[in-house]
């Protein structure tokens, strides 16, 4: 039995609690949050749960084997370090940190002790993107020459009324950390980290201090290149959507969370796909999960974390190394955007 604690009971913490509580080998023993209302409610309705205002107290008193960390991103580092010092396995939400040096340090530390470490880039557990990864690795569309990774959401649709951690980049707020992180991680997952980033630009629409739109160009030494375009003020989208387009030497792939299309220059024996367009729906490739709350990928990622601790999974999907890679790319985007402003 894994004795698990959750630090940060905001939207993601609340969801993760529900999902991981369904795992037969996991017992949620404690949660920590700064909101007294949240803690009072949990205490009232979940009798044996220990609740804490301070994460250190949770770790010292409840002594969990594993933690799910869903605090604002700027706190991830100190929580993870304290967990590391106490030999605790950690699942941490994205973005991994709000500082690339912190990301690197956490990656090295957790690997050095062999502690299970995972970051919440949930697309890596999505049926469609897992399939795209498999196809690209098998060479279905040949060498990737050009790609486009886009993400749209209507997360911010009016001027900010009040400020929270989401209003400041130092705290992990902004379209890059909160939304683009997923589009960037998909590139890292399927193509790998770029060797150089150029032409980054950002726009503000509603946010006062952070960016609402980002676009950029990723360059690779092997000649591949691609573009990133992310907008979190796009009200034409009902829910966050990733779109990925890969152009290769033997064909191309268009994918989003719900399905993919493959265009091939010649018939493929292994997949049975024909020359020309082939459409694959989520209903063709899904695998069910034991308990569904917010999409199969959310269950799959947390079960992967638990099952890795139990020794039933390798734990190689979305590690702190992957979290560091995305963090490093985001850091480069911010640096590149600074030098790309319009000359007066």
């Amino acid at each position: 039995m894994i004795r698990l604690g959750i630090i940060g009971m905001g939207r993601m913490g609340i969801t993760h609690y529900s999902i991981i509580n369904s795992h037969p080998e996991v017992e949620i023993i404690a949660v920590a949050d700064t909101s007294k209302i949240t803690l009072d409610l949990l205490k009232k309705y979940v009798p044996n749960l220990q609740v804490f205002k301070d994460y250190k107290e949770l770790i010292d008193t409840a002594k969990p084997d594993a933690l799910i960390v869903c605090t604002p991103p700027n706190l991830h580092f100190e929580v993870c370090i304290y967990a590391f010092q106490n030999n605790i396995h950690v699942f941490v939400e994205k973005p991994f940190t709000s500082n690339v040096k912190h990301a690197e340090e956490l990656k090295q530390k957790f690997e050095s002790k062999g502690l299970v470490n995972q970051v919440g880039y949930v697309n890596r557990f999505n049926d469609v993107f897992m399939t795209v990864k498999k196809y690209v690795e098998s060479g279905l569309i040949g060498e990737i020459i050009r790609f486009k990774s886009e993400m749209f959401s209507c997360t911010v649709s009016k001027k900010e009324e009040s400020e929270s951690w989401r209003s400041f980049r130092e705290n992990g707020g902004g379209a890059v950390y909160e939304i683009a992180a997923h589009a960037i991680d998909l590139v890292d997952y399927i193509i790998g980290p770029p060797d150089q980033i150029v032409g980054t630009s950002m726009n503000q629409i509603f946010s006062k201090h952070v960016e609402d739109i980002v676009s950029s160009t990723f360059l690779y030494k092997n000649g591949c290149s691609g573009t990133l375009y992310v907008n979190w003020c796009d009200t034409s989208y009902r829910k966050p959507s990733n779109k990925l387009e890969l152009f290769g030497s033997k064909g191309k792939i268009l994918a989003d969370q719900h399905g993919l299309k493959v265009f091939l220059n010649a018939d493929d024996v292994v997949t049975g796909y024909k020359k020309g367009w082939n459409t694959v729906y989520i209903t063709d490739i899904f695998t069910p999960v034991k308990f569904y709350v917010r999409g199969n990928e959310f269950t799959r990622q947390l079960y992967h974390f638990a099952d890795t601790i139990l020794g039933q999974e390798k734990g190689d999907i979305c590690t702190f190394t992957d979290g560091y890679n995305a963090q490093n790319i985001m850091h480069q985007l911010f640096e590149d955007a600074k030098i790309n402003s319009l000359k007066a």
């Binding site: 929270s164 719900h258 209903t283 709350v293």
Partner: protein, 294 residues
């Protein structure tokens, strides 16, 4: 328990929801931007014998409810199956402010929602936040308000809420919701879920009966957790006097041909089917294909 309608007309097609294709969803969303086009499709459904409507409490539902209330002579015989809440409204508010400030806004900033006097008498958010049940009841009232005056048969709680709460394994919330819907609205409590066998087992364990359970049921097992066989076992063993089962996503977003889909559905111990369609051909075909066992 009052018997529910065997065929219920759903609403996903009107509001740009299609789980398989964003493109298809966009096309429909354009078509139904004009609410008149929604009423035209409803009339097609009613002309083909449908007498029950499931409608989510989204930002356009109020206008639709108003229309049917105003035209009671023509539509007074219809049964209504509201599903609450509209999750995306809350999702964005919660993103921006956090959960409790968002609830606070829904309940208190909009004075017209419930009447500010009632709120003050109840002690406002400070008192409410200690009592999740009271808070839940008030949120239900805010969402159900728009259906007032319509013949509401079942009030469904959306799966995102049901399944989230199910994970917490708290009996009280389910018990109180079901009791409240029966008493206050004189309707059957409904729960939408993607984990039907587990939810049903929990309700049995908790002694909560006379509930309508709506879940995806299709022959390829899409959106059926943990798996299709567990669903089939739970459906076969079900006593419809305790739980009426309603199937949704019967075509698995279009992955299954209608005739195949309903051959499968008709062979099961199900009490109702909810489906959405926007052409007369599809409505006619579906109505003719649905032949539930009892």
């Amino acid at each position: 328990m009052e018997k529910i309608d065997k065929i219920v007309f759903g609403d996903n097609q009107f509001f740009g929801i299609n789980h398989m294709s964003q493109e298809k969803a966009q096309q429909l969303s354009e078509k139904f931007f004009d609410t008149e086009n929604i009423y035209k499709v409803y009339d097609l459904a009613f002309n083909n014998g449908i007498e029950a409507v499931m409608l989510n409490s989204n930002d356009r539902a109020k206008e639709i409810c108003d229309y049917f209330r105003e035209n009671k002579k023509q539509y007074g015989h219809l049964s209504w199956y509201p599903s609450i809440p509209y999750p995306h409204k809350y999702a964005n508010m919660v993103n921006e402010k956090g959960i409790f400030p968002a609830i606070n806004d829904v309940l208190f900033s909009n004075n017209s929602a419930l009447g500010i006097l009632g709120m003050v008498a109840k002690g406002g958010m400070a008192v409410l936040s200690k009592d999740a049940i009271e808070m839940m009841k008030m949120l239900v009232d805010v969402e159900v308000k728009m259906y007032k005056g319509l013949n509401v048969k079942v009030v469904f709680l959306q799966n995102i809420i049901v399944d989230l709460l199910l994970g917490y394994d708290i009996k009280d919330v389910f018990y109180e919701y079901c009791t409240y819907i029966r008493k206050k609205y004189n309707a059957l409590p409904g729960l939408i879920t993607q984990n039907m066998p587990y939810l049903k087992a929990k309700l049995e364990e908790w002694g909560i009966e006379e509930v309508v359970i709506c879940s995806s049921i299709n022959k390829i097992g899409y959106l059926m957790s943990p798996d299709i066989q567990t669903y089939l076992d739970a459906i076969e063993k079900n006593d419809p006097n305790k739980y009426q089962l309603m199937a949704m996503s019967t075509l698995a977003s279009g992955a299954i041909r209608a005739s195949d889909a309903y051959n499968f559905i008709n062979s099961l111990n199900l009490q109702s089917v909810v489906f959405g369609a926007s052409s007369e051909r599809n409505i006619k075909e579906t109505v003719s294909l649905i032949k539930l066992r009892d």
